[in-house]
């Protein structure tokens, strides 16, 4: 971490508990522009919870969020979007009963000068974005319910990149996808990286993300085990961090690291 630039996002000492259980305990992670950070850990390690605090879905009990070095006030999803934080949730969070365009623009609809919905303009833009992501996509008029898992995923991704996000959070982005679509998402991540967007990739499967990520941060039982550059560690070492909390030499230990002494 010899990087002297200001991080795009800095989560500092974040804590949240639900009914006495510390879901996230004193966790700190950061992200630089054009960087992909993989957030790894078992199911229930607190990855999704931590990231939901950044995206405004949960309110933190303690800690600080800095965006470009300045404290950010994020209390709900609208606030997060103002800071250019877009999230693709594990559950995709799409409204099944409306079409792709309605989902892409949900909460940020385009309107005509009379204040009514400009459905045609939204559909046009949707066709453009979806054409880039998934050229085979043709079912613009059908409710999202009728689409395949991969197509729904493209809708969720399209929604996140439509509004010029600066920080993108992808929670298990390839969970519902086949190999070909997974490769497409990989390409997309590389492309977004080039544009200077910072990306948090969340996964419990190290193989999904190891090749895409610049750094990994590992969580266990709500605490951060440690951070490492992917070029400094092997997959097995990272697995050791995930399973045992054992921090390899070249990684920076966090509060959740296994005490060897």
């Amino acid at each position: 971490m010899t990087d002297t630039r200001t991080p795009l996002v800095e989560l500092k000492n974040i804590s949240i508990s639900f009914g006495g259980i510390h879901a996230v305990d004193n966790a700190s992670v950061d992200l630089y522009p054009g960087e992909v950070v993989a957030l790894l850990g078992h199911n229930g390690a607190g990855k999704s919870t931590l990231i939901k605090i950044l995206s405004g879905a949960y309110k933190r009990d303690g800690g600080e969020i800095l965006i470009n070095g300045e404290p950010a006030d994020i209390n709900n999803p609208r606030d997060a979007k103002k800071y250019g934080i877009e999230t693709i949730y594990q559950t995709l969070a799409v409204a099944d009963n409306v079409d792709a365009a309605a989902n892409l623009y949900l909460g940020r609809e385009l309107r005509t000068p009379w204040g009514t919905l400009d459905d045609v303009a939204m559909e046009a833009k949707t066709r453009e974005v979806m054409g880039r992501l998934n050229p085979n996509f043709q079912r613009f008029k059908e409710p999202v319910k009728a689409l395949s898992g991969g197509q729904r995923q493209s809708v969720a991704i399209a929604r996140a990149i439509l509004f010029n996000a600066r920080i993108l959070i992808m929670d298990e982005p390839t969970a519902a996808l086949g190999p070909q679509e997974t490769a497409q998402v990989g390409e997309l991540i590389k492309q977004l990286k080039k544009e200077g967007i910072g990306i948090f990739l969340i996964s419990h499967d190290i193989h999904d993300v190891f090749d895409l990520a610049d750094r990994v941060s590992v969580m266990k039982n709500g605490q951060v085990v440690g951070h490492a550059r992917t070029e400094d560690v092997t997959k097995d070492e990272v697995l050791g961090m995930i399973i045992l909390g054992k921090v390899p030499e070249k990684a920076i230990p966090g509060p959740g690291a296994m005490q060897t002494a």
Binding site: S55, A57, N76, P77, R78, K81, T87, Y89, T91, L92, A93, V94, A95, D96, N97, V98, A102, L106, G107, R108, E109, R111, G115, T116, L117, V120, A121, E123, A124, P135, Q138
Partner: protein, 437 residues
Amino acid sequence: MADITTTAHANRARSAGENPVKRFFRATEIDTRLLGMIGAMLIIWIGFNILSGGLFLTPRNLWNLSVQTASVAVMATGMVLVIVTRNIDLSVGSILGFVGMSMGVLQAELLPQLLGFNHPAIWVITLIAGITLGAAIGALHGSIIAFLNVPSFIVTLGGLLIWRGATWFVTSGRTVAPMDSTFRLMGGGTEGSIGATASWIVGALACIAIVATIINARKQRQRFGFPQRPMWAEYFLTAVGCALVLGAIAVVNSYPWPVAIARKYADANGIAWPEGGLFIPHGIAIPVLIAIVVGIVMTFISTRLRFGRYVFAIGGNREAAELAGIKTRWVTVKIFALMGILCAIAAAISTARLNAATNAQGELDELYTIAAAVIGGTSLAGGMGTIAGAMLGALVMQSLQSGMVLVGIDTPFQRIVVGMVLVVAVWLDTVYRARAK
């Protein structure tokens, strides 16, 4: 370029493989579900017409049917939005009763003391007060549901009892009558109809609106080069729409005033009483006009405004809507406030029609309203429903009831039939939807 030609080719190949009926529905984009409902209603109409010896399909009965449907149809439009968000409102009948009684007392007892009997402003003040009261009650229900997290079933079940009790309390159970003479026009009747000429004008305006809508939709799609309906489909839709509107106007215009009232009118205006009697057509009844306007406004709200989009998104996936930054709680409050306003409008129609406010007004209306919405294709699982469907549902329910009265079926059997029809209709709809998947 290659992409576009292949898709166009694939589309053509797909439509060539379909039978003409399927191609017809695809080209016109007609909702087959709605069409099925219209078909069911026609069967009911023709069936009752045969059973009653030709009494059902007369201008008189159809005109009455339209007036009787108005109040429930108005409330059903709001119930669609409530049910779409996976809520329910059991209190609409009681809100109707309470607001109706309050408006009755206001116009028959309070305002005349202040302004004088039959003052021209009484009806406006009464109506505005009623709508405000309805909105406040609805907003109260909505706030409890949204911010205190009490299920809507319970809140409105409480409301059902509370507002019915309040209706009794206002006048200690006494019926209030008569209503203000201008206010009474909202209930229909010979005076509360707009007459032949005005009805034709309304019909003409409706036809112009249909043509304008279709042209506008076509232009919009042209702007972005989207696929369009074939021209013949556009002409067909325009023709059917205009024919339905003008046909309905022709029906209401062929129902004349009753002889006694026409004679009184002739005497009062110094018109000589002709040999065969005076033929003065009713035209569209004012409550029906109100219901149609409400239907158009509600359709606009639910399909063209952001609020409507949010309502459906919440019904589809509440969590997704919240994560997209929609203030779902406020949307809930607004939905129930809107429902309250519609109850007030329905209360105005029904008190005006009865020319009295009674403490039993609107009893069981909540069930008819919910039934109308559900028969009209609103899914209790949320996320699906149309305003037009719900209004048509209200018309189907009312057709059944009026028809059974005409045929002379006893009251207990009427309820049994209505109950069975509701269950069967929803079952058929479930089957249809399972197939459509």
